[in-house]
């Protein structure tokens, strides 16, 4: 497992754990970024664009650090 901000563009990953403030976890969950969800990294330039299903999520670096993923 490694943080989302350590991924590469085009990499496909599975969300393993989200460890940030409760409000942010809720927001990510509502947007489809839940534990077990698979996605692809569109862009990673400190801040990350992570595509989960058909949802493109723009996530800043602080939150990206708290989302742990593993390769799919």
């Amino acid at each position: 497992m490694y943080p989302l901000n350590h991924t590469k563009e085009g990499e496909q990953v599975i969300v393993k754990c989200i460890d940030c403030h409760c409000d942010d976890v809720c927001r990510l969950n509502e947007l489809g970024c839940v534990e077990g969800a698979t996605g692809i990294i569109i862009s990673n330039q400190k801040d990350v664009i992570f595509k989960v299903g058909e949802t493109r999520l723009a996530i800043n670096n602080n939150i990206a650090k708290s989302i742990l993923v593993s390769p799919n």
Partner: protein, 706 residues
């Protein structure tokens, strides 16, 4: 549906086409665009369905009923019937983007708990077909327990089909908590409801499940619950409910969400078919460039530069044409009508005032055209993402970018759009600095002064000094907004930072009919609103600047050498005398009393300045020689010294004043409404006006001594 008038609410995630459905059902023209959070308040219309007139409410987009932002809270409260003068909806149309069904159904699963009949509207079926997504509506309907219909809201026949569907369906509230399989969550939920919400609060019964689940997930109260007594008991009950889940090995924060997604999986598994394509789409490829940490900000700045250069260059022929029409009409009226007060009032008051503002209609139209294209393509959300890091450093938030960009058109929708900002501190700072963004009302003043005093020399083949000055004024507004935000950040308690999490919509070609319709609407609003106030002010001003009459003997005895009788008359009119009283205050800024009168009237609305100057200069001018306001400003001289009134330093000082001063009553009113206090609009007026005075003073004093 029973043939009696009903209230129908449109609910869904942001950017799923709710407003398109609303417009199609009601025939209204609610604004639509391709970024999240365009609808920030309830919009109400009516629609005839099955021969009965129903009320239709378009609610702000929400990802969840566990609201975090003001716009989401508005949607939730409307659904549970919390608004005093509004009934709880009789029917919810849940609009979902069928190309992103699972994520959209999360909100739908929450709507099912509210004990309101729901119809699921699978929108964007045209896009789904392109992506080879197929849906078994009947199976999905059986699984979810609500009627389901597929539409493409852009198609008229689909909207008719939707109306027939609503008219013929039997309305029945779905079974609440159908998604919930976990016994432990049910236990915890029952405990919070029975021991705290039911006995101790007056929350509407339909919302008990939702509120109980929210309390368990968050583990704490928000402001909704702090007003109730027995808070200690409530906190204790929530703690016990969370312990039930923890002892069962479940995470209270995530248990509900995971259960809902399991339910959604069960519902959609057999009902949908989609070919999995893991390759990057065109949107993804564009995003990897447009959101690049180096190219992204460069692209953003280039887009703005091109936009403002185009506004200035492309609009010029149309402006010249309008100018010509008003000048010729003025000449014609002056020469055709019998001389007298009515002739003067029409030519020098109404036509001069109105012409001075309508001339800028082409630039307003181009400005809105570009803004609607940026909104329609989906670029606005990218701009927010690209600028987030920088915005955070100066005390704002990435989400502040969209309201600030909206401020280029008008501060009022920009201030309303701050409802999408979760954090109160970020929101209030955004509101307080937003009026620095150069709105369309400043455009006439900038355009007039730049055209008159900045050379039109070409630079680098495509740009001109005039275009660059125009761009620089917009940049100046942005820089001042950022500096003000950075200063304000120090005065506000920092609190919890809200990180940037935003959905980026897929790029789309703008809907050209919507773009042109919105542009036409905005153009008409500009002419109508500005016209009303400008005609009224012009008539009053014409009177104040034309009376009392002076006789020729008095003029011959007291006038300066070379001063015309019209100039002498104006100087000794009511307006002239008032202007000369305030002149000492504004003289250090390079302004004479005529500009002073313009500044006073422009506190009603900025664009009134140009109409005011046009009226004053028309009264002062020779009737035989009606020329454009630009020429009048260039040729105006001080009757006492014979020197030109306007220099480049005066023009720059005046533009700086307009860039910074708070001269808009409507903005003050909307800040009062959004902050629910006079404290913020008062502070805004004082600090912006003081800043404008000081910066204009510095500009003129430096400029005139160079």
């Amino acid at each position: 549906m029973e043939q009696t008038p009903k209230t129908i609410a449109l609910v869904g995630n942001p950017n799923t086409g709710k407003s398109t459905v609303f417009n199609a059902l009601t025939g209204l023209r609610q604004k639509i665009a391709n970024y999240p959070g365009i609808t920030v308040e309830r919009k109400v219309g009516t629609s005839i369905i099955g021969g009965v007139l129903h009320q239709v409410i378009d609610l702000p987009g929400a990802y969840s009923l566990n609201y975090k932002k003001l716009d989401e809270r508005i949607a939730y409260q409307a659904l549970i019937g919390s608004y005093e003068h509004e009934e709880k909806p009789d029917l919810v149309l849940a609009i979902v983007d069928v190309t992103n069904l699972d994520r959209n159904l999360f909100l739908v699963s929450q709507l099912l708990d509210l004990k309101i009949p729901v119809i699921l509207v699978l929108n964007m079926m045209d896009v789904a077909e392109q992506k080879q997504i197929t849906i078994n509506e009947n199976l999905l309907s059986d699984n979810l327990g609500v009627p389901v219909i597929s539409v493409s809201a852009k198609q008229k026949e689909d909207i008719e089909r939707l109306k027939n569907f609503i008219a013929t369906e039997e309305l029945k509230a779905p079974q609440p908590l159908a998604w919930l399989e976990s016994f432990q969550i049910r236990r915890a939920l029952g405990k919070v409801k029975k021991e705290w919400i039911q006995p101790c609060t007056n929350i509407p019964e339909a919302a008990h499940d939702t509120e109980a689940l929210r309390l368990i997930s968050e583990g704490n109260f928000d402001e909704v619950f702090y007003k109730y007594q027995d808070k200690e008991k409530g906190l204790s009950v929530i703690k016990q409910a969370r312990e039930i889940l923890e002892q069962a090995g479940e995470n209270p924060m995530a248990a509900e969400v995971l259960q809902r997604y399991d339910f959604i999986d069960r519902c959609t598994k057999d009902a949908t078919q989609q070919t999995t394509d893991s390759s990057l789409s065109l949107t993804d490829k564009i995003d990897s460039v447009v959101t690049h940490k180096v190219f992204g900000p460069i692209i953003f700045a280039s887009v703005l530069l091109l936009m403002f250069q185009a506004i200035f260059s492309w609009a010029t022929p149309f402006m010249d044409f309008i100018d010509l029409i008003f000048v010729e009409t003025g000449n014609w009226v002056a020469n055709t009508m019998a001389p007298g007060i009515l002739n003067d009032l029409l030519v020098e008051g109404v036509l001069a005032g109105l012409g001075g503002v309508v001339i800028f209609l082409p630039q307003i139209i181009f400005l809105f055209f570009f803004i609607y294209i940026l909104e329609g393509t989906g670029y606005m959300a990218r701009a927010a993402f690209v600028m987030d890091g920088f915005m955070t450093k100066v005390g704002l938030h990435g989400r502040s970018v969209v309201p600030l960009m909206s401020g280029f058109a008008c501060a009022i929708p920009g201030i309303m759009a701050t409802r999408t900002i979760e954090n109160w501190r970020d929101r209030i700072i955004t509101i307080m600095v937003l009026p620095f963004m150069a709105c369309s009302a400043r455009l006439p003043v900038y355009a007039l002064l730049i055209a008159a005093f900045i050379p039109s020399t070409t630079v680098l083949g495509i740009f001109t000094y005039q275009g660059i000055t125009f761009f620089a004024l917009y940049i100046f507004g942005i820089v001042m907004a950022l500096v003000a935000a950075a200063v304000m950040k120090r005065f506000f308690p920092s609190g919890q930072q809200t990180p940037f999490i935003m959905e980026l919509p897929a790029y789309k070609m703008p809907k050209w009919d919507v773009v042109f319709r919105n542009v036409a609407d905005r153009g008409w609003i500009f002419v109508k609103e500005a016209g009303k106030i400008i005609v009224a002010i012009s008539i009053v001003l014409w009177f104040l600047a034309s009376f009392p009459n002076v006789d020729e003997q008095e003029y011959a005895q007291n006038a300066y050498d070379g001063e015309t009788i019209e100039s002498y008359q104006l100087r000794h009119s009511f307006a002239g005398k008032f202007g000369q009283i305030i002149e000492p205050t504004i003289e250090p800024l390079g302004f004479d009393w005529k500009i002073g009168i313009g500044l006073i009237t422009s506190f009603a609305a900025r664009e009134v300045m140009v109409g005011t100057l046009n009226t004053i200069y028309s009264i002062e001018g020779d009737d035989e020689d009606i020329v454009t306001l630009k020429e009048k400003l260039i040729n105006d001289t001080d009757p006492e010294t014979g020197k030109p009134i306007y220099s480049v330093a005066t023009a720059l000082s005046l533009m700086i004043f307009f860039a910074l001063a708070m001269q808009c009553m409507s903005t003050i009113a909307i800040v009062r409404r959004e902050t629910n206090s006079w404290k913020w609009p008062t502070a805004m007026f004082v600090y912006m006006s003081a800043l404008a005075y000081v910066c204009s003073l510095i500009t003129f004093q430096i400029g005139s001594n160079l």
